[in-house]
Amino acid sequence: MSKRGLAIIGVGEVPTLRDPERTRWDILLDVCMEAIHDAGVDKNRIGAVISNNPMAQPAMQNDMSLGKIPEVMGLEGCRDIAICNAGGASTTNCLRLAEQHIESGQADFVLVPHTTVQSDIPAQDLINFFATAPLDKQFEYPYGVTFNGSMGLITQRYMYETGATQAEMAAITVALRGWGALDPMSIFYGKPITLEDVLNSRVISTPLLAKECNLLADGGGAMVVTSHEIAREMSDKAVYKLGHGTRFMSATPFMRKDIFHRKAYRESSQDALAQAGLSIHDMDLRQIYGAYPYTQASALEGYGVCEEGEGAKLWASGRCGPGGDLPCTTMGDATGRGHTGSGVSMAFYIDTVRQLRGEAGERQIDNCQHAILTTSGGSVMNTCTTVFGRQVR
C-alpha cells in the first residue's frame, strides 16, 4: 500500500481553563483516548507517538521525551516516540515527523498529543520564561523587556507604517473574541467583548492593551494521523494535507528584516498553495496563529488576501469575524482561546479539522472545502503554512 501524504483522522480536545486541579496527565489521557476513539482505530495500531513539547514544564517534558505515553496507555504496537519543540510551531514539527514515520513504513497511525497546565506556575516564573526563552539574554533581557513589550514594539511600527488606528487594531481582538465566544473549547466561551471593552482595558506595553495580550491557560489536544490512502479507505471524516511551505526569519525580534513577516507569509503560502494546485482565493478559511493582533493583519497582506497595510482595516470592516464573508482564525487565536503555550498550534489544527468536517458548531462556516493555516514559533521566528482539504486532489 502506498503510504504517501498526511491525513488527520481523529481529534480530541479539552476545554481551555485555568484549573490547577486538572493535571497534565489527566488532560493528556483524555485527549489521546478521545482522538483514538474518534479515529476509529485500535490503540495497538498506533505506531508512533510524536508529542508537542510542553513549554516551561520540565517534568512533563521528561515524561513525554522518554517514552511514558505508550507505556502508560498500553500502546502495544508503538515502535517509537519523539518530542518536538519549536514553541508555537511544535505541532507543525510533530506532523512533519509523523509523516516521515508513515512514509517510511514504520507507522500506519501516529498519535500527536499536547498537554499544558500553566495555572500552577507562579506568574513571575512565566513572565521570566517568556522574557528569556524566545528573547536574547544579553541584548534584550537586561532592558526589562517582556514578551508583550517585544510584540508592542512590532505593533507600534506596524501602526506607524500602515496608518492602522488603535480602534482598527482593537477590532481584531473583538473579532477573535467573537469566535472564541462561540467555541466551547475557549476559556472565553460565551464571553464576547466590545470595541469599548478593548479600548478601555489597561495599557500593558504601548500600543498593546490588556485585552490584546494573552491570558495564559491550561489545555490540550491530540490528533491521530495516517497516510492519504489509508484515510480514504477507512474514514469519511478525514482531512487531507494538500501542501506545505515554511520560511524562517530570525530567533531574536530585533534581528528580523521582515518584521511583519509578510514575505514569509507570502512565500510559505505560495509554496503550500502551489503543491495543492490551488490559489489563495480558493480558500474558504484562513487560520493564522500569531498570538498578537498585528499578525492577523499582516498575514492577510502576505497571503495576498488584501494589499499591504490594509489588513487591520479588513478586520475592522467585520469581514473576517463571525458572520463575515472572509472568515479568518475561527479558532480565535491565543487572544480568543486562552494561551496554552506550544499547544495553541494544536488547537489550530483541530479547529481546522472541525471546520472541514462541518463539526464546528456555532462557528461553522458555509461549505468549508479548503483551509490555509499558518503557525509560528518563538517570537515569530518562522511561518509554517499548510493547506488542508476535505478531499485529496
Binding site: N128, P142, L153
Partner: protein, 139 residues
C-alpha cells in the same frame, strides 16, 4: 553598587570585547576584516563569511528610533520600580539595529524617527549597560 538586582547580561567569550567597551563608555561594534561587514550581536564567527578575523570599531553613539513601546505592567519584580519602561529598537548609522531603553525623557516625548545618543550607566562594578537618550537640540 552591589544592590543592583536586575538581570545582568550573560556575557559570552565573543561578546566580552563589547562589554569591556561599555565599561570604558565606548559603544563597540564587531567588524569583520574579511568581508568588511558590521556584526551585531557579537559572535565567534562572522555570520556572512565565517571568518574569525573579527575586530571592534567604535560607533558614533548616534542613532534613530525605529520603534518603541512603553511598558506599564507585566514586568519581572526587579523592574517594577522602573515603570514605565520605554523599550526601543534603534538604528545606528553603522547599519546596526539594537534593542535598548530610552532614558532621560518622558513617554509622551518619544516618537519614531527621533534622534538619540548613547549614554552609559555603570550598574555594577563589572557591568555597564548602554542606554539611549534624546539628542538635545541646540547643544
Amino acid at each position: 553598587m552591589s544592590e543592583y538586582n536586575k538581570p545582568l547580561p550573560e556575557i559570552q567569550p565573543y561578546s566580552k570585547g563589547y562589554w569591556d567597551g561599555t565599561k570604558q563608555h565606548k559603544l563597540l561594534i564587531q567588524h569583520c576584516n574579511s568581508c568588511d561587514s558590521n556584526i551585531f550581536y557579537p559572535r565567534r564567527d562572522c555570520p556572512k563569511c565565517w571568518s574569525q578575523e573579527l575586530d571592534w570599531i567604535e560607533a558614533s553613539g548616534k542613532a534613530e528610533v525605529y520603534t518603541y513601546s512603553v511598558t506599564y505592567e507585566g514586568v519581572e519584580e526587579a523592574f517594577v520600580d522602573d515603570l514605565p519602561i520605554i523599550l526601543a529598537w534603534i538604528d545606528l548609522p553603522e547599519g546596526i539595529r539594537m534593542h535598548t531603553n530610552l532614558v532621560e525623557c518622558e513617554p509622551e516625548d518619544v516618537h519614531i524617527g527621533m534622534a538619540v545618543e548613547v549614554v552609559f550607566r555603570d550598574v555594577t562594578d563589572d557591568i555597564t549597560l548602554p542606554y539611549f537618550r534624546p539628542v538635545k537640540r541646540g547643544v
